[in-house]
Symmetry: C2
Subunit: 474 residues, 2 copies
């Protein structure tokens, strides 16, 4: 690493300005503060205490893949880290410039290059905001089917880099199922592109090496994505169960029959109460709420919802009609904007922990993590991404400690949560990613694969330019 | 590379015998000849002319992952290559010991470790023959859903190493969709295992780096696979079309509606005639045959077959009842055993070329490759693995040249075929893999990803021990 002196900073500024033009480079204090963090709740605690922890040296806004490539080459020559940045809604600190350097905001790269009506593919630059992409596809009669709760404040590049999963993932798949081919700027500045083919047996799948690598191996600048016709119909179902066990059994049975509801969410008792309150649902509901939404062509929706109804009856679920599911659908992004409100109260901490495991191990994982956290703060949980072989659990945790400073308590809670998760055989992230937050568990999560990952990183990025100190890498 | 003298051979033999026991090591001439080739048709031409081209120095039959690990370490110490070997039914020369060394037959590693009824997962050693695995799962009420036409003479390890796709892939997915976690012996002998979770957002998917790597990056010794309940019902449909265009449109429309028949195969006119003859179907059928088989629970099969019937009518398909589809189903593996018969005639060459592309480009690719080959030999084609975004084309080619020796003609045909494929934007393999046969096109297939692949190979296997000279690698 070249030591970054003030002189060098001036030199680099001139270089960046020559490279991108004066309007696409900033070292203003305001920009540096704005790009000093993402939506990692720990960062909110820093902000609450007036601290700005990690400022970048520069913020840049490239408009083309070639500009990104030239930026990466410049960083290799000068030793400055480059941190790819989408809309900054990550919750694990993945976009935080821990070692300064250049934050590379990709949001100007927001073009849809092509929509292929016959092969149902869209080729899109990765800086586009999720909601903009979806709306523009909707105008043409399509949907991507990717609806993370951050859709208004997150980008396609962020989805790809962190292995995002949307609220309708059970029907439409996760982002890695949608990406047919990628254009990637490698750490040496080379631009590569995977082939657009429905499937190939020509060696490793290199898309899958870059998806989820959170900017450590390359910067994804373009992707060709599978799209779908907009659904003709939507069927809403809501059921109540006494405990989560039977609700989980319904989900497992339905999925293992090959039924793929667009939405399937089961809340424990506490989460049922809080979630419905957060979306202003008026009717009082006691129990564990299961909501399902089927979408697509009418007869399939009808058949699948009928089969689900039968399974719910077998498991003593009480049909409570369409309205809770419909109400959730209408307000499905609202709950995410309550976080700042919660954190405005001093000492309060708040976060979400999303883990996953097999069906066999699911209730054990649920119980283990609840036990590890339940005495220390409020723990709510729902089950919201289901598979034939298992399911995710999404814990919402909030509370405060009288004995510890907030940041210390925050670290302790995560330590207890992920230690319990790993001990119970869960995966430490289902769809939020790793960033800084979960970096120290990566070796236990991946075992010896971590060495493979580090070896590949070393080979592709010998100067450690791309998003250093993340993911358990140096 | 250590030069392999006779003395060293004796030393290595003693080491291998100490390591595995005397019954699991051979350097007999008979074994060396038997393991000198796989089912690559070029190898059949060598055999026809009495040539044994590439003999290994040793054949070994390890029984545990630890033994495989020790073998790999021994190879690193001595410089002998190690070639993982399943049942030798590969058709691209992927298991041919081009530089001698140790052929490592994994078929003694054929245990099913566990079947999980709740999560629908089976953990299996990779040396098991596909048909044995399927039969043993059937006894417990399950199916893997993986039915390559080589199922009687291929192993799970072979499927994983080459990214195999079975005849029912449209419903059950390809092998990479089935593998939840892998145990892999790395080129330095380290044993690693990916985590069994339905999904994780914790960095790259390392399964996907080893799937399809054809033994160049590691030896997969165990896998946890998704399994399915045996289907309750099967519905058979057969239609005739005047040309392949309308048949392709039926498949595309059905797939893009989310219909997933277990089998969907469309034959061009010549392939319709030959395929039906090869399975002794008595009735004469003129046109392009489309067969579909739906399986699963009854009401879903009924709904999906009804929708397909409607689409076929829209595209002027003639419903010709169940019997061609049923007859194909009963004889679905028979056609593969006709190959040796064909090759018994002097000068005759025979092979299959399986490519894929998007729907938009499908008929262009079909036409381009037919044009490149059609004047030189007989070319049949069918479309047999369909996706929402595209489809594979499976060409069967046979013929002879009066002017050229058979092996020279063989190479010329492949040159013409894959040059045409790449020029027309296709992928050079849908599911047979690369091996030696397609190695020289890998740089054009992968572009700069080939450098990434070579870099990873160099990092993980600095002594180039594992299956050298394959896949376009050194």
């Amino acid at each position: 690493m070249v030591s970054r002196t003030k002189t060098l900073n001036v030199e680099l500024f001139n270089r960046l300005r020559d490279l991108l033009g004066p309007k696409k480079v900033s070292h203003s204090e305001l920009d540096k503060v704005a790009y000093s963090k993402d939506m990692w709740p720990l960062g909110q605690l820093w902000t609450r205490s007036g601290e700005v922890k990690y400022k970048p040296d520069f913020v840049v806004w490239p408009e083309t893949t070639e500009e990104v490539s030239r930026l990466v080459k410049t960083c290799n020559e000068t030793g400055y880290p480059l941190i790819p940045y989408g809309a900054g809604s990550g919750v694990c600190g993945g976009a935080v410039p821990v070692d300064g350097g250049i934050v590379c905001d990709l949001k100007k790269m927001n073009r849809i290059d092509a929509v292929n009506d016959k092969s149902l593919l869209a080729t899109v630059q990765t800086g586009i905001i999720g909601e903009h992409l979806e709306r523009r596809l909707n105008h043409k009669g399509y949907t991507l089917g990717h609806f993370p709760s951050s859709i208004y404040s997150s980008t396609l590049g962020g989805y790809l880099a962190t292995r995002s999963a949307g609220q309708l993932s059970t029907k439409y798949g996760k982002i890695e199922d949608m990406a047919v081919s990628l254009q990637v700027v490698l750490p040496d500045g080379e631009i590569v592109r995977t082939r657009t083919a429905p499937r190939s047996a020509t060696g490793p799948n290199f898309n899958q090496l870059f998806l989820g690598s959170e900017g450590t191996l390359g910067i994804i600048t373009k992707a060709t994505l599978r799209i779908h016709p907009k659904p003709e119909k939507r069927v809403f179902q809501s059921y109540l169960f006494e405990g989560v066990e039977k609700g989980c059994r319904v989900i497992r049975k339905a999925l293992q029959m090959g039924i793929t509801p667009a939405v399937v969410r089961l809340y424990d008792k506490a989460d049922t109460a809080l979630s419905l309150e957060a979306i202003d649902f008026q009717q009082e509901i006691k129990g564990c709420l299961l909501i399902l939404i089927h979408e697509g062509w009418p007869r399939r929706c009808e058949l699948e919802s009928e089969m689900v109804d039968r399974i719910c009856k077998e498991e003593s679920g009480k049909n409570i009609g369409q309205s809770p599911a419909k109400h959730w659908w209408k307000n499905r992004y609202a709950i995410n904007y309550k976080q700042s409100l919660l954190l405005s109260s001093e000492k309060m901490i708040f976060d979400t922990v999303e883990v996953a495991t097999t069906w066999t191990n699911l209730l054990n994982l649920h119980q283990s993590m609840k036990s590890a956290l339940g005495d220390q703060l409020t723990v709510l949980a729902h089950f919201s991404h289901a598979y034939r072989d298992g399911c995710s659990i999404y814990f919402t945790i909030m509370g405060q400690s009288e004995d510890m400073p907030d940041t210390e308590f925050y670290h302790k809670i995560w330590q207890d949560a992920l230690d319990a998760c790993i001990k119970a055989g869960g995966t430490i992230s289902h769809h939020h990613g790793v960033g800084i937050l979960k970096a120290k568990w990566m070796e236990r999560q991946l075992g010896s694969w971590m060495k493979v990952y580090a070896g590949i990183k070393k080979r592709l990025d010998p100067n450690n330019i791309l998003n250093p100190h993340k993911m358990g890498l140096p």
